[in-house]
């Protein structure tokens, strides 16, 4: 990769006849599709940054209602965090199995991914139900509106991811490891890992910083 004749890699600058597509024309679909999905995921993170900014601004606007350190239970959050992290890990194992066209293990790992995601979602919904039951619903204060918007938006993404995992399993079952199915699997794994990255920000900013003594 050091010779003079080696074409420039990635963005090219050297050649005057450069078309902007590099010297080899457009990349194959197996590169372009996940790259496009990566751009979507990054823009999704920009969306979340706006929700984080809203939450940070309104975190103390409790309107005399319950504040963050009266509401959150760190033990539940720790379980949620572990479940989602393991889920992200197992999703990687499913990707490894899928790359090697091993249907049984792909399905098993995808199922485990989905189950761990469901554990996470179940705990989150339980927490929401508890809070609303205590009169700490989203209407109570600006703080709680921001909380339910931010964490609920992440939960909605996880829900969509669970549906996607189910669909993915059905597609592997029915269609096998065709190239377009593998591209979808690739996008699913990017999506699922990204959700865990966003959760890291949520458990740090919302739950841990919200319950500091």
């Amino acid at each position: 990769m050091t010779g003079v004749e080696t074409p420039a890699v990635g963005l090219t600058h050297g050649a005057s006849e450069d078309t902007g597509l590099g010297h080899r024309g457009p990349e194959s679909k197996s590169i372009v599709v996940p790259y496009g999905f990566w751009l979507f995921v990054l823009s999704d993170m920009v969306l979340f940054s706006a929700l984080f900014a809203t939450y940070a601004t309104l975190a103390h606007a409790t309107d005399g209602g319950p504040a963050s350190n009266e509401l959150f239970d760190r033990t539940l959050v720790a379980i949620e965090t572990i479940a989602l992290l393991l889920s992200s890990f197992v999703c990687g194992l499913a990707m490894i199995a899928a790359r090697r066209r091993n249907l049984i293990w792909t399905q098993i790992w995808l199922l485990v991914t989905g189950l761990l995601g469901a554990v996470f979602l179940g705990i989150e919904l339980y927490e929401f139900a508890m809070m609303i039951g205590e009169g700490a619903g989203p209407q109570r204060s600006a703080f709680l509106s921001a909380f339910f918007t931010l964490v609920g938006c992440h939960g909605a993404h996880v829900t969509a991811g669970l549906l996607w995992i189910g669909t993915m399993m059905a597609q592997f079952w029915a269609k096998g490891f065709q190239p377009h199915i593998m591209r979808r699997m690739m996008c699913l794994s990017i999506f699922w890992h990204a959700l865990d990255i966003i959760w890291v920000a949520i458990f740090t900013i919302v739950y841990l910083m919200g319950t500091l003594p």
């Binding site: 996940p34 706006a50 965090t81 572990i82 890992h193 740090t204 910083m209």
Partner: protein, 130 residues
């Protein structure tokens, strides 16, 4: 180097796995270990009293950013290698926008909150300190 091999070296998609089963699995296991460690330290830092109080929040932010880095490198396989240039550039732009939105908002809204002074009856929000 055949044309096909060269193709393999050129660009990879984010999240694209390595070639060997061992190194691939190892990457995920190392990532999981580091992420668990950083999560554990985060929860410990948040609950211990042996750390200077005002430093805790900053420490948590640093730990969170470190863990996001672990996820990007070991789970999404974003590297500094030449085959990853486009992924890294897109990520850098995303990070720039995220920081602009978050720090800009917190900075401006914090100052506005201070400058507005106490008139909760006008904003109907009753900002509460503490």
């Amino acid at each position: 180097m055949s044309e096909h091999e060269r193709e393999e070296l050129m660009d990879v998609a984010p999240g694209a796995p390595h070639d060997s089963l061992m190194s691939e699995t190892l990457s995920y296991i190392v990532g999981l270990g580091l992420a668990l460690l950083l999560t554990g330290v985060s929860f410990w830092v948040a609950s211990t009293s042996s750390i200077w109080g005002p430093g805790v929040a900053m420490g948590l932010v640093v730990l969170a950013i470190a863990q996001m880095g672990v996820h990007l490198v070991f789970f999404l396989h974003i590297t500094s290698g030449p085959d990853n240039t486009n992924n890294v550039l897109a990520l850098a732009f995303g990070v720039l926008i995220v920081f602009l939105v978050m720090i800009g908002t917190i900075w401006i809204m914090g100052h506005m909150n201070v400058n507005m002074g106490p008139m909760p009856e006008l904003t109907n929000l009753q900002m509460q300190r503490g």
